[in-house]
Symmetry: C2
Subunit: 495 residues, 2 copies
């Protein structure tokens, strides 16, 4: 099943130019070719940056905002996009982005194209295929390798996971609980699928019924497909990381539009909000040591060997000093939401698994996000303790039904990495978007990119004597910033 993804990996090269059509042997793993470091580093293909533009985009001093040129190919649905590099905290812009329309075909390889003709996101009955629209933001850390790789491949993994579901999702009846062993279900076979071959000749109403059967919706299947695609992507990065060519990890915020519904999958601290008639609808939550405290503590409690005798799964409000042994200190264990006092014992002097507050909260004093892809080789400094078992690659998927509401051209879905949200609130984002969109005709396709640019500029700020400053003179975001502004009036209204 991974053959197609392997092919794509093999075709991965750093730059935005055409990829050589490498063909790995069918039954052996693909040659481990992650994007080469350094010179091979790229920005999203849809930006179509020239070498000179690429150089300029990487200038930490100028921090020029990048967005798709109006004179070039337009993104699906006239999606707006803008990005800016960090103020120097890492050599590269470690954010990556992807925007694709993907045709899932159960007969042959997925074809992937920014905007294939005639593909509106609805099923294409005659050909048996299924189209989905896809937007992804990837916020890398400790290197750009994992983010680059995931930005090139995650949608192919999603496509792979959806391949078995092409017919099932397009059928009006509920998904069969069980499929025959060849995994292909033709519509006529559907009602018989849960039954053993021996029963196949009985008339439908005489079939024995299982006492307990849980109904599963098509929506749940798409959620499951996205969740498993993240897992497969993470496993692939793990395989590549053994060769040391794919560095670091990345948070992922991915959006799939399929059969009328928008699926927002988040693993990390990026954020998605819908702005509808001025109202803000949160479409994700952040996964950090604080929000995932209990999941992490439970794992440390049940598998203490993962803490390497260096950390305690208990949470304390500050570090304990040796001379405080015997005193009583506030603590929380893995099944508490409140706090209580406990007498300090020797074991409590270990470093807390979760420590710090807000942006400074860390797992094992090392990492500030708790979901994402990669990081397989990440260890606690100066130790052999791996962080990865505490990180989850599984996204939380929220669903928004586009058909339940008549959207106007000003209704948008905003996706952005934490570089934006660290300095700009949901309300400020909504106000800026609304303000910019009002300045353009509703049918002007460039208005969404203008909104994205304005969001990036306002969050980056302006370079003054004391660094990048916002309009209110507070510090601007020194992080990489990437933003999609996706109009919800489409599909149909926009292409």
């Amino acid at each position: 099943m991974l053959g197609r993804v392997r092919t794509a990996v093999a075709q991965l090269v750093g730059g935005p130019g055409p990829a050589p059509a490498a063909q790995p042997p069918r039954d052996s793993p693909a040659p481990p070719r992650g994007p080469p470091a350094g010179g091979g580093f790229s920005r999203p293909a849809f930006l179509q940056l020239s070498a000179e533009e690429l150089r300029r985009a990487g200038d930490h001093a100028g921090r020029a905002v990048q967005s798709p040129r109006e004179t070039r190919r337009r993104l699906p649905w006239s999606t707006g996009y803008a990005e800016v590099i960090n103020a120097g905290k890492s050599q590269h812009n470690e954010d990556q982005a992807c925007c694709e329309v993907v045709l899932v075909d159960r007969r042959c390889s997925p074809r992937c194209n920014p905007a294939p003709k005639g593909c509106t996101g609805e099923a294409e009955g005659g050909r048996g295929g299924l189209c989905f629209h896809y937007w992804g933001l990837f916020d890398g850390h400790a290197g750009s390798g994992a983010a680059v790789m995931a930005s090139k491949l995650l949608h192919l993994h999603i496509s792979d996971q959806l391949r078995d579901l092409v017919d099932i999702l397009q059928d009006s009846s509920p998904p069969p609980l069980c499929l025959p062993s060849d995994s292909r279900v033709l519509p006529a076979e559907r009602n018989r699928a849960p039954l053993a071959e021996a029963d196949a000749e009985l008339p439908n109403d005489a079939l024995p019924r299982f006492h307990l059967e849980k109904a599963v919706s098509c929506e749940s299947l798409v959620i499951g497909a996205i969740e498993n695609a993240f897992k497969r992507m993470d496993e692939q990065i793990e395989r590549e990381q053994t060769t040391r060519l794919v560095a670091g990890g990345c948070c992922v915020l991915a959006v799939v539009y399929l059969l009328g519904k928008v699926y927002v999958a988040n693993a990390g601290d990026s954020r998605a909000i819908i702005i509808r008639n001025g109202e803000i609808i949160p479409m994700s939550r952040e996964f950090t040591p604080e929000t995932e405290r209990q999941r992490l503590q439970v794992l440390g409690f049940l598998r203490p060997e993962l803490l390497g005798n260096e950390f305690t799964h208990l949470e304390f409000p500050r570090r304990i000093q040796h001379k405080e042994l015997g005193k009583k200190m506030l603590y929380r264990d893995q099944n508490m939401n409140g706090w209580a006092y406990k007498r300090i014992e020797e074991d409590d002097l270990k470093f807390p698994l979760i420590y710090g507050e807000g942006k400074k909260a860390r797992v094992m004093a090392t990492i500030g996000v708790t979901r994402g892809l990669g990081d397989h080789d990440l260890k606690v400094y100066n130790s052999n303790i791996y962080i990865k078992p505490f990180l989850s690659c599984v996204p939380e998927v929220r669903v928004y039904d586009l058909t339940q509401y008549e959207h106007c051209p000003d209704d948008v879905l905003v996706l952005a990495t934490d570089g934006l949200w660290d300095v700009t609130s949901d309300r400020e984002v909504a106000d800026v978007v609304t303000e910019v969109l009002m300045g353009y005709e509703p049918n002007d396709p460039c208005r969404y990119t203008m909104a994205a640019c304005e969001l990036v500029v306002r969050s980056r700020g302006v370079l003054k004597e004391r660094g990048w400053r916002l309009a209110n003179d507070k510090l601007g975001s020194g992080d990489d910033i990437s933003v999609f502004v996706i109009p919800l009036g489409g599909p149909g209204n926009y292409t």
Copy 2:
């Protein structure tokens, strides 16, 4: 610290009469005296039932509704209460209830009295004590022992946990993170508490500050105290269960009113709602195999030995038959919210850890609730697999600030066991309560008991030829039903 609770255990006898003042040796466990089975079974003390009334309350055929008599002592805040026994599913009414005003005194044993004079729930400065109001519902299963024991003791464990906090909660400054080793903090010592003795002579503003300190609220301390009280209660039941005298387990819904806030602690499938100006505010959620699927699956995944080679941590929408090996079946693992297909392997033929839907959902085919007290000896039928590791004794605590809203006499907090909620919706409960209360003067203290009785009668139904039937002829609840209706206008308005 448990000495006082041990004394109370020793004093426990089945009936509502005065208890002998047994005194266990100070440093040895209390004599294991759970309430004797059979004749010693009792109903809540505040009902003050005579022997004849007790017999009548246990009549499964008549199912007479029990409530506090107006001619007897009134419950605090004029709380309304009513209960009815099941239609024959168990010998006893396995629900229990408790309503107390508890004085937490840091100097001596907690004194416990249904309505001590002059105790309004506010701190009593001069004496250094702290008062809390308490209501508890206990829905037993597989015997009444755990429910009876918890109903007599849980509030004493809460009191014990609050004992260290008497001064801290009454002080306006935030709680100290660290206490001196004798655990007594006098107000004057408060600011110095987090510091080592060596620093104690420095002036306050010259003290070294810890780089990172998390602020913890008084509210969190009360939540932590309630959580830990549940754990201590569960440990005590475990000790008692080794003697086989305390049978079964129980769901617990407990409410603590302390210093202006209502803390609703739920462990099980009872439910609490606030009805305020006709609006419904949920104050709890149910803990069942379905709502706690992922917590249970994670435990089964991380500690597979707990599944005894009989169960799989994967969820399937129905049982798999042996002849389906090799086919693809829908499944969910511990980190999925969606569903996907997997090829059926030998291991998947094991029974699913979580199985069934709604009221029929079970953990290991055995139990339908996933939080509560007791059940330490509960095993999977015909096996040596214990259920207890999968059950949690820790409640979820929600807080409602009574001072944030001006409550009218019709605003109430309704607590009830699942016998009520199985047949009556939140909305119906709110409508019945509002309707009954309107029939009485706002200052008539019996109106809350009338509302509780009406809720019980409507959920039990009327005995007809085809069993207990509701007004709409649907089946009434055959379960034990217990209901508190607590007016929120108090304290002060009611005593």
